[in-house]
């Protein structure tokens, strides 16, 4: 169709083209972008009864993820498998299986530096294998999300949950959250993307849960509609801009001539790490804003306080209930949501009048105990009990916690 001047009327053609393109939109493209605030606090939610792996999947579906890279290891495998089906459904733009964990973690560093919102997940020995690269992420200012499903890493090896592996992450500079249940896994994962990409933070965030107890067990999760998603990453509004034709890759290792001992190289390293940890600390503001604080306190007036993270919180909640209903004693509980940054000031405040602190843990060496002792040194006169602890994959019987609370009573376990 042409008019008298011979100019083609393209409107009809264009419309058909647009219509065709609309039909090719992926499921992710059809999701409506909402603000993090709307997604986290305002969007209507429906209650589902799902596994932790499914909760992670639903979080990723709504997180506008560009790149997901998987490598199987129990008990994580189901989670990244679910993310694979998200890719098939069109909610995740790129997805592939890496060679092994060092390869996966390296690829995450690359895709994140290139500006893509990137995520992966691993567990136990897989985390240990990927650690070489993970330890370099914070210094590389890599915004990314790493999901961790804790399992035994030490000998005798097992696939059961034991969270000693988190001890290795505490000193890396990564922001580290420890979820208690399926709901936490859903919420923390979405919030991790937003916190990770804040300009003043620009760091990787790890969201850990204890394997099987959370990943393979079902629990109630309140989730917003799948028709909405978080805003995309803006890789140019970060501490280190994404690499492209105008921003060449930064060389983050020392060049050979200054590799050896000299004042400048040490000074560079010191200031670089200082900034990584300062950025880590700046996450507090957003943890307070989006996650309700670094800690949650139950029965703040109690003289005996349990301090726990992960699955140990659930067991402690049950111990608190039994202590009140069956032994007529009110026990306090502090759930530590964020391990890095660590809630030092919050714990000092919450433990001001506490006489006895009990720290149940799902690992042998008791990393949370060490953290708490360090935080409270000269700020509390409370007796700090190192334990009770289970490890190698055992669940903690609430009787163990009750026995520590009431040493004069006899509990069988």
């Amino acid at each position: 169709m042409s008019d008298s001047a011979g100019v083609k009327d393209v409107t009809a053609e264009k419309l058909a083209e647009i219509k065709e393109a609309a039909e090719e939109l992926s499921a992710g493209d059809r999701q409506k972008i909402v603000t993090p605030e709307y997604m986290f606090f305002e969007a209507p939610r429906e209650r589902a009864f799902i596994t932790g792996s499914e909760a992670a999947k639903e979080a990723i579906r709504r997180s506008n993820v560009d790149v997901a890279i998987s490598y199987p290891i129990t008990p994580q495998s189901e989670t990244m498998q679910q993310v694979g089906s998200l890719w098939a459904e069109g909610y995740v733009k790129e997805y592939y299986r890496g060679e092994e964990e060092i390869g996966v973690m390296s690829a995450i560093a690359g895709s994140s530096r290139a500006g893509a919102r990137s995520m992966t997940a691993t567990a136990g020995p897989g985390l240990m294998r990927g650690m070489e690269v993970i330890a370099s992420w914070p210094g590389g200012r890599i915004p990314a999300v790493l999901l961790i499903m804790c399992r035994v890493v030490n000998c005798p090896l097992a696939i059961q949950p034991d969270n000693v592996e988190l001890a290795y992450l505490l000193n890396s500079g990564i922001i580290l959250f420890h979820g208690e249940n399926q709901q936490d896994f859903f919420d923390y994962t979405m919030k991790a993307f937003i916190i990770s990409e804040r300009p003043e933070i620009t760091l990787p965030v790890a969201v850990a849960v204890d394997g099987f107890f959370v990943t393979h067990a079902r629990g109630y999760v309140n989730i917003p509609s799948k028709d909405i998603k978080l805003p995309p990453r803006n890789p140019y509004a970060e501490a280190v801009p994404a690499m492209d034709n105008e921003n060449p890759p930064a060389r983050l290792s020392r060049d050979a001539p200054i590799q050896k001992s000299n004042f400048i190289s040490y000074h560079v390293h010191a200031s670089w790490q200082q900034e990584v940890w300062a950025a880590n600390d700046r996450a507090r503001r957003y943890i307070n804003k989006y996650m309700g604080g670094l800690i949650e306190v139950v029965n703040p007036e109690a003289e005996i306080m349990l301090i726990a993270s992960g699955s140990a919180v659930s067991q402690s909640r049950e111990a608190v209930r039994q202590a009140e209903e069956e032994h007529n004693t009110k026990i306090g509980l502090i759930k530590v949501r964020s391990l890095r940054p660590f809630p030092t000031l919050e714990l000092r405040e919450a433990c001001k009048n506490v006489k006895r602190i009990i720290i149940p843990e799902f690992n042998h060496m008791g990393w949370l105990h060490r953290e708490v002792v360090t935080a409270l040194y000269r700020h509390s006169t409370a007796e700090i009990v190192p334990g009770p602890r289970v490890f190698g994959g055992m669940s903690m019987p609430t009787e163990m916690i009750l026995q520590t609370i009431f040493p004069e009573k006899k509990f069988s376990f």
């Binding site: 204890d210 067990a217 079902r218 109630y220 659930s314 067991q315 909640r317 049950e318 209930r321 376990f413």
Partner: protein, 230 residues
């Protein structure tokens, strides 16, 4: 009668122990209560030990993970006891005082004198249910053994109610199926091929559950049904 029951299910690979735990657990949730469960298995193969831990309650549940001190133990296969095919030995290890042991066997199992004494000290109630025989006669397949176990325990504990269990079975086989692993998915296909229509499979499973529920009622094992509200 308790508000919360901690159940350890022990059986052998291929019997649908994990499936049974999901049906019971989801039934409890459908009835308005709470439930958590954790399966425990090694390599997925027939005749290998399998355990599943289920908490069901008409009230809030906080605990998660493996159940070390159960109030209820369900033994899906006599070999768990007679051949020691179990992660937990003896089979009643950790059983709380006044607990329940439901065993799938046509006739009582000849227990060791120590076992008899220890179970007596704990004042355990021991029930023998011919679950596999019922599954074969009523459901037409041994594979419905797990359904019989679920039906009987619902009567013994008084939770969850039968309509909720039926809804749970429906969701498991007809609706938004929950697949734990590749092994479970493969077994589902085998079961489904046995039945021309999925509706027929559902009906057959439900009749086994109902029969076992009735069997427990008839033998005076039933608890007063409780209503869940969380």
């Amino acid at each position: 009668m308790l508000k919360r029951y901690n159940i350890r299910m022990a059986g052998i690979g291929g019997q649908g122990v994990v499936t049974a735990s999901h049906i019971l657990s989801n039934g409890m949730v459908i009835s308005g209560g709470e439930s958590t469960l954790v399966p425990f298995f090694g390599s997925e193969k027939r005749m290998a030990p399998v355990e599943s831990y289920v908490r069901i309650a008409i009230d809030r549940i906080y605990e998660i993970g493996e159940i070390i001190y159960p109030n209820v133990i369900m033994i899906f296969h006599p070999q768990v006891i007679t051949h020691g095919k179990s992660y937990t030995m003896p089979f009643y290890s950790g059983l709380k005082q006044n607990g329940v042991v439901l065993i799938n066997a046509d006739t009582p199992i000849n227990l060791q004198p120590d076992e008899v004494r220890e179970l007596k000290e704990r004042e355990a109630r021991i029930y023998y249910l011919p679950a596999t025989t019922m599954a074969r006669e009523i459901g037409g397949t041994d594979l419905a053994t797990n359904m019989a176990m679920v039906g009987a325990i619902a009567s013994i504990l008084g939770i969850p109610d039968m309509p909720s269990l039926e809804q749970s079975v429906r969701e498991r086989f007809l609706g938004k199926g929950f697949v734990v692993s590749g092994g479970t998915a493969a077994l589902d296909n085998v079961i489904e091929k046995k039945f021309a229509k999925k509706e027929q499979l559902l009906k057959s499973n439900m009749s086994v559950i109902a029969a076992a529920y009735q069997y427990a009622n008839d033998h005076g094992w039933a608890a007063t049904p409780q209503k869940a509200s969380v």
